[in-house]
Amino acid sequence: MVKKIMTGDIAAAWGARLSKAEVIAAYPITPQTIIVEKIAQFISDGELKAEYLHMESEHSAMAACIAASHTGARTFTATSSQGLVLMHELLHWASGARIPVVMANVNRALAPPWNVWVEHTDMMSQRDTGWVQFYAESNQEVLDTIIMSYKLCEDKEIQLPVMVGLDAFYLSHTSEIVDIPDQDSVDKFLPQYTPMYPLDIEDPLSIGSLSMPHQWYSEFRYKIQEAMDRVIPKLNQIEEDFYNEFGRRYTGPLELYNTDGAEVVLIVSGAAAGTIKETVDIFRKKGIKVGLIRLRMFRPFPSEELNKALSKASFVGVIDRSFSFGHEGAIFSELKASLYGAKHSPLIKNFILGIGGRDITIDTISRVYDNCFNCLKNNKIDNPVEWVDIKV
């Protein structure tokens, strides 16, 4: 076990290396580039035995990963923004084929206008594709989650691809202290990959053929949801094993920060959680009862866990660092749906923050909390979906 100062991109590369990914098919895009450069360096130096494919596009990169996984190799890729959305067709393909692939996505805004800074719309807009989705808060979490993701996606009861999101620049290019687990421990934790239905000349199969309306397409799609339903219990198990092996504890799809007794709770994904935790500490010192729920896993959506965590909150402020045009923030919509019919129904408001990498500061969050308390006092939401910090 070695502690090193490294950026999120480097941590992601280490995650792939420690997991002994065998085929890496990737295409460069800012701010993911350091991930693939570091992996290429590992391979050049003989520190990772893998095939690195210089793919001609992200769409082809995902195709090659899916194919390599079918053939029996553990695969890894990384992308961001435009690259992720270019892969969209094949994201659906990977989950439909029930193929394990782990991908790091550096969350970045979509063009036009061009913008390389953090936003979650790229990954949010892929929420229907049947991938398990994580949003990391720290570089350590990026590394650890990649390793755990392999254990999750390759489990024969799951067989779903996983994407691990890390915020552009705030994580990808910002250095933090990261504990690099030792290879032997990871080997013990992570067994070798064997595909469920391998491409095997001794037992030929045709994988992915035509299927009719009356049989059995619907059933195959239903199976994807059945697998999704098994993810959270499986993740809890894996995190328990991870704690036992590496001594670091993760708390499933949610991280609760000072939610006990909190009147106003904010929900957020990604690195902005750090700033909000600081703000919570400041408010709590003044005796103001606020808390934070960091949404670590967005797919499958942890409805049960959220309902339980919010069972005593009076007001929930959902921060979306993305937007679903024509409606509202995605986390906001899905939380409201979760709470529909629940015994306890807090007031809920949507705050759209940090679009295109606009900074989220303690001041911003303080104003958000103040606004929540105001609404709570008047028992009325002033503006259900508020784009905070838009220069009006």
């Binding site: 067989q159 469920m196 239905y197 037992d203 199969l205 045709s206 992915g208 053929s209 059995w216 199976k223």
Partner: protein, 95 residues
């Protein structure tokens, strides 16, 4: 892997769409409008008919004569057209 035959519910399915049942259960011979008939007197056992069948529905017996597998023959007529001795006649089905 076990052959995915006699599927009646979701429980019988593989986890992902995997096909491993040979298509031999689909008797495409029912598509035919014309059927090839071999004239053994003219046949020189060259096997060109066997070679040019897209449905692999011509086999060759121990003597070297072609045998049409009428379960699968779609009646395209390529064998009749390619036979160097016009030893294959296309007859209308149902006669």
């Amino acid at each position: 892997m076990k052959k995915l035959e006699k599927l009646s519910s979701i429980k019988d399915l593989s986890e992902a769409p995997i096909s491993n049942v040979p298509s031999l259960n689909q008797k495409t011979g029912t598509w035919r409008v014309f059927r090839p008939e071999i004239d053994k007197d003219k046949c020189i056992k060259c096997s060109i008919c066997w070679r040019c069948c897209p449905d692999i529905s011509i086999d060759v017996d121990e003597e070297g004569f072609p045998i049409i597998n009428y379960d699968y023959c779609k009646g395209c007529g390529i064998c009749a057209h390619e036979c160097p001795k016009t030893a294959i006649r296309m007859e209308r089905e149902g006669k």
